[in-house]
Symmetry: C2
Subunit: 143 residues, 2 copies
DNA sequence: AGATAAAAAGATCTGGACATCTATTTTATT
DNA sequence: AATAAAATAGATGTCCAGATCTTTTTATCT
């Protein structure tokens, strides 16, 4: 459903959103989110290319969120690393279908649309403010 | 979102549902659904193991649906070949979370639940009876 | 009843994408 | 100039999709 890479990207973004004052290094984020450090660096690179996060090189550098959490839909994070693909034309390449989707693929695409809508309306901010008990990720976050 | 294997399984099942009088061979289904024949045989095997389809060996054998289309949710087809995995415990293995999910993973799991519900309530029968123009798959089906 | 052909079932093998690790280069700060 | 950090490049491992081949089962036809 949600790729490993998307999961990692979401963890990183939520982690950054929780203490957004100063930049965080890849190593820090990796430790807090328990993502393999060197893979995380690639994920963060993709997030930076899509301007979800902002990177600062050199001493005291690191990554920061490029948006306020409440202005950052989960969809943007997901699409940066592993874009949601819609079914736009018949995968069987049947000429008689043309640009129409058959019933099966229409139904499948409807569910993709639904998921996309869900991730579009739910932001990193809503994750943080969700009124459940546990704190997102990071038992040692903020210490 | 939906794996290639699930897509193939759904195509095969929809195809079988469209002419359910006699068994269809793997080669036939492969031709009609444009799925690679030898991979399809594996997919059909999995469907048979999970009793979504029934197989008959030997001359004039082949595969048939094990259920009436309206009694066969798409979820059963998907779960037979590529089960939907729910997030049951914190992927970070944080002790403080225990069996509780953090907000991020709760949100992600909610969307998985939603998709599952969608595929549970929508059956192969609803695909066939969907009031849209194009016929599911198979331009040459039924000839 | 035995031979034959048709079909599923099963065993390997390969290429590509994703995930992970290692090493080097570039850039900014002190 | 020294250092810390991202950026880049490359190597390795694993899993899924797909291809090829062999074996087993079963209906049908002499």
């Amino acid at each position: 459903m949600i790729s490993q890479t998307s999961e990692y990207a979401l963890r990183a973004v939520v982690c950054l959103a929780q203490s957004s004052k100063k930049p965080h290094t890849t190593a820090e984020i990796a430790r807090l989110t328990k993502v393999p450090e060197h893979y995380l660096s690639k994920v963060l690179l993709m997030l930076a290319k899509h301007e979800v996060v902002y990177s600062k090189k050199g001493l005291h550098g690191g990554y920061m969120l490029a948006y306020l959490p409440e202005n950052l839909p989960l969809l943007n994070v997901i699409n940066a690393v592993d874009p949601i693909k819609h079914i736009k034309s018949c995968p069987l390449k049947l000429k008689t279908h043309g640009t129409n989707l058959c019933r099966l693929h229409k139904r499948l695409n409807d569910s993709i649309d639904l998921i996309e809508e869900l991730f579009k309306t739910s932001t990193v901010g809503t994750i943080l403010s969700d009124p459940t008990k546990s704190i997102p990720l990071c038992e040692s976050n903020g210490k």
